[in-house]
């Protein structure tokens, strides 16, 4: 059985807008749709800075009424959490009056799919509170349900903050799952390369040198030598430990590649060649975090020659 764990990737991405998108999003905040006109007179909304076929730069902004005709409809019968409406709705491409492109947005027909058809004339339903985002238009709606937006001053926007959130379920592969379950039993088990006889830990699906599978398991010691290290003093978003802390390459006795882990205690005492041993967490766990950190054993340091081939 492979091990799994949830993993979330999320960040509020900050995007510079530049003059064209800045004007577009600024206008949305003011309750107005703007397009961009190209040299050949075509009008695109949402505006893009460069012409789709000639690549010419386009800067001339033109106001649109916001009214248009639905060109294509895709009905969402069961909205998902990431969708903008929580009742059944349609994603639509709207041919806005005065434009030569198709505005992609959502159509709200109060859950009635029979109203969401090609050819329907629609206009935006604006939010009362707008921030200069595409969602300032709550949805497009049939013309008879349109009300004028609450007025707001027009001002070019400089940047947008666009959050991205994605959920994953990460699976350890077969080799890694075995290794992690052995860690749960407080065993450090590497694998021997069938080609060069050397022991990799953590084991990979293959001998990294030859690409041949490694199947022979080899118990290695939970003590070893710090070959090299860094004291992390920088702080950064998403950091799990409070600096300063020591990340080290540790050549475990019986292994042929260093393992990267933490060394506890006073960072100023850590040295190349220092002998360390694993300190296990009280609760067993199938994770590299089953080892809390490595601590000095107090034995004499290993000579440089012992580990110089592992830097």
């Amino acid at each position: 059985m492979t091990l799994t764990a949830p993993y979330r990737l999320e960040y509020p991405y900050k995007r510079g807008l530049g003059p064209v998108l800045g004007a577009f999003f600024g206008a949305l905040r003011a309750g107005q749709l703007l397009g961009v006109r190209s040299a050949d007179g075509s009008v695109f909304c949402p505006p893009t800075e460069f012409h789709p076929t000639t690549a010419e730069a386009m800067t001339q902004m033109v106001p649109l009424t916001g009214e248009g005709v639905v060109e294509s409809v895709y009905w969402i019968a069961r909205p998902q959490p990431h969708h903008p409406l929580d009742i059944p709705f349609a994603f639509v491409r709207v041919h806005l009056d005065g434009s030569d492109s198709f505005f992609v947005h959502v159509l709200d027909t109060r859950g009635d799919s029979s109203l969401a058809v090609r050819g329907l004339r629609v206009a935006p339903r604006w939010r009362a509170e707008r921030q200069g985002a595409i969602t300032d238009i709550e949805a497009f709606v049939p013309l008879d349900q349109v009300t004028d937006p609450v007025a707001a001053p027009m001002k070019t926007m400089e940047r947008a903050v666009i959050p991205v959130e994605l959920d994953y379920v990460i699976r350890a592969g077969a080799t890694q799952s075995t290794f992690l379950k052995q860690l749960e039993q407080r065993r450090l088990v590497g694998r021997r390369s069938p080609v060069n006889g050397q022991v990799l830990i953590p084991p990979r699906g293959a001998c990294t040198e030859s690409g041949e599978p490694c199947v022979e398991e080899v118990d290695v010691s939970s003590s070893g030598v710090v070959t090299t290290f860094s004291v992390i003093r920088i702080e950064f978003p998403g950091q799990r430990l409070k600096p300063p802390y020591v990340c080290a390459a540790i050549l475990l006795d019986g292994a042929d590649v260093p393992l990267i882990h933490l060394v506890g205690g006073d960072p100023n005492d850590v040295r190349m060649g220092m002998r360390v041993r694993a300190v296990w967490t009280e609760e067993p766990q199938a994770s590299m975090e089953a080892i809390q950190f490595f601590e000095p054993t107090g034995e004499p340091d290993a000579p440089f020659d012992h580990y110089k081939e592992h830097l």
Partner: protein, 304 residues
């Protein structure tokens, strides 16, 4: 151009969620494909792969996958953040130089780690599409609607997996395989980036590839096409002006979408048909991007 052929092709199990990680998948296909033609990694002139960081949710996913290749002594290597079919294109270009004769191409993808429908929302306009919750299905749905179809779109089933191909040039191809699948032509094109500015019923880039290849000159006996939604099959056949009696997606691996690998798999299946003698000229296709924005065509034949 220098004649280049597919001489070996393999893929992992393609039955949904994989029990292997990227390194294991890579190891299995690279090792197997080399064994087919009796080569070791040291014999390979150029290695190139395709994969996506957002698919596995971690940056540099291709870095750990390299552990499965056998990349020491160091190898001449490159990676595209694209379907493996585009990696194969890069290898085909590299083999034109004439100083090396073989290339290993591989790709891996495990769409089951995340929600691909949502992940692919990040391929669209970064200013308005993500906040709108536009996802892969919605875009395919709008494309289907533009085709005049109604109802929910049907996605081709997803699978995790990996594939590998060995290319060889000139006489080396014949030394490695009595019947190589020669690349008679390979072309790829991109359409404009804005969904709002595209006629979604026209796959201009696929059509442009067909035109560049002069596809009508070939008697295609089998076509392996890469589409993620059933209705895109018709769009593709139209854009490529493929006759309705050409069998499509005969290959076993063409029944699923192995995201980031599918295009390479289609080339592999089209090549396999030539290598095993069941066809003398075949067509492979790969696509990428929202509503098939980017397309690649490759014609394979029994003769260079």
């Amino acid at each position: 151009m220098r004649p280049v052929a597919v001489v070996a092709f393999t893929h992992s199990e393609l039955d949904g969620q994989s029990v292997w990680d990227d390194v294991e998948l890579t190891q299995k296909v690279c090792s197997a494909v080399r064994k087919q033609v009796g080569l070791t990694q040291n014999d390979i002139g150029f290695t190139v792969s395709g994969s996506s960081d957002f698919l596995s949710g971690r940056p540099f996913s291709f870095v750990s996958a390299l552990d499965g290749v056998g990349a020491f002594p160091p190898i001449q290597e490159s990676h595209v953040e694209m379907d493996g079919a585009f990696a194969l294109y890069e290898a085909w270009v590299r083999l034109q130089h004439g100083d090396i004769d073989t290339a290993l191409v591989y790709a891996f993808g495990q769409a089951s780690l995340g929600d691909l429908n949502r992940v692919l929302g990040l391929q669209m306009d970064p200013y308005w599409a993500a906040p709108l919750g536009l996802d892969e299905e919605a875009v395919a749905g709008l494309q289907a609607a533009a085709q005049g179809l109604s109802g929910a779109v049907q996605r081709v089933p997803l699978s995790d997996g990996a594939a590998a191909i060995i290319l060889a040039a000139g006489d080396r191809a014949l030394e490695l395989n009595e019947q190589p699948a020669w690349i008679r032509g390979i072309e790829h094109r991109m359409d404009c980036g804005e969904l709002s500015q595209r006629d979604l019923t026209q796959l201009n880039s696929a059509h442009a590839c067909a035109k560049a290849l002069d596809l009508s000159q070939y008697r295609i006996e089998q076509a392996e096409l890469h589409f993620n939604f059933e209705q895109q099959r018709d769009l593709l056949q139209e854009s490529l002006q493929l006759s309705g009696d050409i069998p499509i997606n005969v290959g076993a691996s063409s029944q699923v979408d192995t995201y980031m690998v599918s295009g390479l798999l289609r080339i592999g299946e089209a090549a396999q048909a030539v290598m095993n003698g069941s066809a003398s000229t075949t067509l492979a296709h790969a696509s990428a991007g929202p509503a098939m924005q980017q397309n690649l065509l490759c014609v394979l034949g029994a003769k260079p």
